[in-house]
Amino acid sequence: MASAVLARDRKATAEFVRLYTDPVHKFVWRRLVPKVDLVEDLVQDVMLAAWAGLKSYSGEAPLRVWILGIARHKVDDHYRSRLRLAVSLDQDDGVEEPQDLSEPVELALDRMRASERASQILAEMREEYALLLRWRYWDGRMSKAIAEGTGRTEKSIERMLARARAEFRSRWETTERSGREQ
C-alpha cells in the first residue's frame, strides 16, 4: 500500500486513511482526554506527517506500528508544549505526597473496573498533571527526559509528579469513599 500511496494513487490513499485513522484517533484521544477538542487537529497532523514521511518507511515494522510511532512523537510534542506553559505547577509550597492513607487500595479489585476508574480520574484532573502522569507511566518517559523536553529541572519534574500522584491518590480515595457510602 505504501508504494501505491507514493505513486499518488487516490484509491490507495483513501485506503490508507480508512485503515489507519481509527487507531491513531484512539491513541491520541486517550492521551488527550478530556481535551478532546484538540484530538482531531493532532490526528490530522499525524496522518499528514505519516504521508510526508512515507518515503522513509522501510517496511520492517507493520505500517500501523510505524504510524503509531509518529503519533507518539506528536503527542510527546503536545505534552512538551503544554508542560512548558505550566509554570505554576512546580512551586514548592510544602505540599507533601501522602504516605499514610487510611486504607490501602485493594489491587485485587476487578482490574477492568479499577483501570476504568483510574482513567476517569485522569480525565478529571487538571490537564498538566494528567498528561504528566500519562507521559511518565503510560509511555515510560523518565523524569530526566521529561525535564529535558520541557526546559525544567529534573527536581522540578519530580515535584510535579509527586503532586500529580498525590492529587490522583486523593481523588481515588474520594471515589472509594463515595462508592462505599452508596
Binding site: A4, A7, R8, D9, R10, K11, A12, T13, A14, F16, V17, R18, T21, D22, V24, H25, K26, W29, R30, V33, E40, V43, Q44, M47, L48, W51, A52, E97, P98, Q99, D100, L101, P104, V105, L107, R111, M112, A114, S115, E116, A118, S119, Q120, I121, L122, A123, L133, R134, Y137, W138, R165, F168, R169, W172
Partner: protein, 111 residues
C-alpha cells in the same frame, strides 16, 4: 506494597481501560483524505485512473466516465473528488447520505 507504587500501578492500569471511541469521525477521515489529495496533487500528477484500475482498485461512477472518455492522461490524473459534492458532504456531515460505491467519502462510513 507502598503507597507510591500502588498509585503508579493504578495510573499505569488506566492505559488499558476503554473509553475511547473505536472509530474516528467520518468527517475527520474525509478532511484528512481531502488534505492528502491536495498535497499529492501539489507534488505532481495523480496516478492515471487506468493505472489505478490496473492496480486492482475500483472507480466511482464519475471516475469511470472519465476513464473511458477519449481524454488525455492529464484529464485522467485530475483530482475529481475536489469538484464533487461528495467531498463537501463528507467533510461537513457525519455519516453523510452518500451511497454510491467506490466513493471514498461514502466508504469512510463503513470503517
Amino acid at each position: 506494597m507502598n503507597n507510591k507504587v500502588q498509585t503508579e500501578e493504578l495510573i499505569a492500569a488506566a492505559a488499558e481501560s476503554g473509553g475511547a471511541p473505536d472509530a474516528a469521525p467520518t468527517r475527520l477521515k474525509s478532511r484528512i483524505y481531502s488534505a492528502l489529495m491536495l498535497a499529492e496533487a501539489a507534488e505532481g500528477k495523480l496516478r492515471d485512473l487506468s493505472e489505478t484500475v490496473s492496480a486492482g482498485w475500483n472507480l466511482c461512477v464519475f471516475e469511470q466516465i472519465v476513464q473511458i472518455a477519449p481524454v488525455g492522461s492529464t484529464a485522467k490524473a485530475f483530482n475529481y473528488c475536489r469538484v464533487c459534492h461528495g467531498r463537501l458532504m463528507g467533510e461537513n456531515i457525519e455519516n453523510p447520505p452518500l451511497y454510491w460505491s467506490c466513493c471514498p467519502y461514502a466508504e469512510f462510513k463503513n470503517g
